[in-house]
């Protein structure tokens, strides 16, 4: 109990911790929400660029106030300076990318290092006027956050967040499909500038907490974590905000326990959080992916199982199937699960094919026999026919089989004299192919008779001793064998 108290509650009684938690959370949440759009627009590098470039502005702001007004370390001027330098950088990046063949990514690389370098030179040349702790900018100091920084980030965050929420729809469409957005009269470029402005603001206010190097992490890591979990931008932003908050919370505890730098601990926690989600995410996670692959049953095995079940007239157990199809028990379980999910089989211990499963089995049988016929025609010796056809039957694309069948001249039987089941690529089949349909409604797909049975009728067909009787709308119509042979039907799904 005591240790738990020292670990979790004790820090919460410290003012500095609470301040860091409050200030950090505000910034992290807004960073994360903004970051969603940043990563979707592939601008991650821009966040990095802005944070570095602002050093020049901080130096310039400091110097300006000191030389002109003699004021030391004027926080406001440094803030304005950093914004100005951020905007200049963004403008130069766009300018170079536009007027030359240099692409945007290279342009970012040129401009931000240039502006950053200017800042470094400025600070070192005027070292005797400027008393800036560069380390502070590089590492940030979330645990020693000043009241001024806190107020500024609160205001900036509120402003940026309201802009994003108010114009959410427009940010969404301009990021997803700028061409379409322009065609309905949305000022795409304006939104791009507004958004870049928002990113600059939020980056500048976050630097004081986590520092130049880590700020880009705060911008994109929680957003990327959320991206692994959802397919909707709204949800992604909400989740990102949550992850932004937990990064700060977890990071701060970590820094207290390990007695480490706050910014580092926060980003370390955010990264671990990302890796955990990357592993465990239900859809886009590695574990789920691995599981999916492991549980996958090859189509070939599925088809062999269906064929073996079709051979047996009564329900079968696992062991009956494994006599014909060789596989591990685990794959057997997965295969049966798949068959049942797909509605091809039913049962718990003893399994049975459903109507859909039996139609599928017939289709496979047809594929096998059509291939055999074809191979025979090609001069393959009879002794090899079955084996070769067994491999080829898995190439059972419906249309292709029907095509080969047609080219073979619609033979009734295969070379061994076995009947080729009359099932067709549209899912229909001839009644003589399948027994046990008498208790089910079927739809007539094709029929050749002058009796009152037409394509599209939903009927029930019963095999009687002296022929076939069709029950339709309460009445009964008798059909001859040859009429039934020329007729195809389909189960209602």
């Amino acid at each position: 109990m005591d240790t738990l108290y020292t670990l979790f509650i004790d820090p919460l009684t410290k003012i500095y911790f609470l301040k860091a938690l409050a200030g950090g959370s505000i910034v992290a949440i807004v960073c994360a929400v903004t970051g969603c759009l940043v990563i979707l627009q592939r601008m991650a590098f821009l966040g990095d660029a802005l944070s570095h470039a602002m050093i020049a502005g901080v130096g310039a702001g400091y110097l300006f106030m000191k030389l002109v007004f003699g004021v030391e370390a004027a926080a406001g001027a440094m803030l304005v300076g950093s914004l100005i330098s951020a905007f200049i950088t963004v403008f130069m990046i766009g300018f170079v990318a536009k007027v030359s063949r240099i692409k945007e990514d290279a342009s970012i690389g040129i401009m931000y290092t240039g502006v950053f370098a200017a800042g470094v030179v400025l600070v070192s040349v005027f070292g005797k006027y400027i008393h800036i702790d560069l380390m502070h900018f590089i590492m940030g100091d979330i645990l020693g956050i000043s009241d001024f920084d806190m107020v500024v980030s609160a205001i900036v965050s509120a402003a940026v967040l309201s802009v994003i929420i108010l114009f959410f729809r427009y940010f969404k469409i301009t990021s997803f499909d700028p061409v379409m957005a322009a065609s309905i009269g949305i000022p795409v470029l304006l939104f791009k500038y507004v958004f870049t402005g928002c990113v600059s603001l939020i980056v500048v206010s976050a630097v004081s907490m986590v520092g130049v190097i880590l700020v880009v992490g705060l911008l994109i890591t929680p957003a990327a974590t959320a991206y692994l979990l959802t397919d909707r931008l709204e949800k992604m932003m909400a989740l990102a905000a949550l992850f932004g908050f937990t990064s700060i919370l977890g990071g701060l505890y970590l820094s207290v326990w390990l007695n480490s730098a706050g910014g580092g601990a926060v980003m370390l926690f955010a990264t671990l959080q990302f890796l955990a989600v990357l592993m465990l995410a239900p859809r886009y996670g590695l574990l789920a992916d691995w599981q999916r692959r492991r549980n996958m049953v090859p189509q070939q095995v599925i088809e062999d199982i269906i064929a073996s079940m079709f051979k047996s007239a009564k329900p079968v157990a696992d062991t009956d199937i494994t006599k014909y199809v060789e596989m591990k028990p685990k794959m057997m379980r997965n295969a049966m699960k798949y068959l049942i999910e797909e509605g091809l089989a039913s049962g718990t211990d003893m399994y049975e094919l459903t109507d859909k499963g039996r139609t599928e089995a017939l289709r496979l049988k047809k594929a096998h026999r059509v291939w055999e016929t074809y191979l025979h025609y090609m001069g393959v010796p009879d002794s090899e026919l079955h084996e070769k056809a067994h491999v080829l039957e898995h190439y059972n694309d419906l249309e292709s089989i029907d095509y080969i069948y047609e080219k073979m001249g619609y033979p009734d039987t295969d070379p061994h004299g076995a009947k080729i089941p009359p099932v067709y690529s549209d899912g229909s089949f001839c009644l003589t192919a399948l027994y046990g349909f008498s208790d089910k409604d079927v739809e007539i797909v094709s029929v050749d008779t002058d009796k009152d049975v037409a394509v599209g009728d939903i009927v029930r067909i019963i095999h009687t001793d002296d022929g076939w009787s069709v029950q339709k709308d309460g009445g009964t119509i008798d059909l001859t064998d040859s009429e039934v042979e020329s007729m195809t039907v389909r189960f209602l799904s």
């Binding site: 979707l40 108010l166 114009f167 729809r169 427009y170 969404k172 469409i173 990021s175 997803f176 499909d177 061409v179 379409m180 957005a181 322009a182 065609s183 309905i184 009269g185 949305i186 991206y227 959802t230 397919d231 909707r232 931008l233 949800k235 992604m236």
Partner: protein
Amino acid sequence: MVSSDYAIQVRNLTVSYGPKPALLDVSFMIQKGELVGIIGPNGAGKSTLMKAMLGFVKRDIGEVLVFGKPVEQTRGMIAYVPQRGTVDWDFPVTVADVAMMGRYGHLGWWRNPSKADVEIVDKCLEMVRMSDFKKRQIGQLSGGQQQRVFMARALAQGAQILLLDEPFAGVDAATESAILDVLAEAKKAGITLVVVHHDLATASEYFDKLLLVKQRLYAAGPPDLVFRQELLSEVYEGRLKVFTDLLKG
């Protein structure tokens, strides 16, 4: 004649990306409610012509009028389905989200989509037979399905003019007939349709009027006027045999 009887008027249009113009001195008029096909070989400037009708490309000279007004002043009157979507297919939006974007132009700055908007979107998805995929992320569809979602979005825009750049490219027979149904329905609703089409075999059957383009406009009018041996052989050099067959059949 009042100029706004025409949905689109293009006059002396020339567009160039480099030294050689992609379109040269193209002029034609499209009446309201017509179903017009644009045909021509690869690189003929068909897509460029579409973009010019939308005001997306810079014109060297010439003008484009939409319902009698310069195209620049008519944003939102034309809905467009591009040849290849340039969107990010991994973007976290669903089919329904994308279709709803068609309504954004009508929503005003702050208003959320109303029930009526949702109904329109549902109807449009129904028309292109994509209702079963509403919750699917846009990247997790086949190319033909994605094309249909973008068509639904264009329909949802409620625009009077619909431009489709090769909607029939790479789709199966079922999708093709679904798209044809959509075109027929849109035409019935009085919408003017301009469609870039590649398949000469079906062009005369699908469209009221054809524009034969290869940098210049070679012919414009009803299919039997455009499908003339000497025109086609000039535009599609070297592939004469196909056309002789076509003209006979």
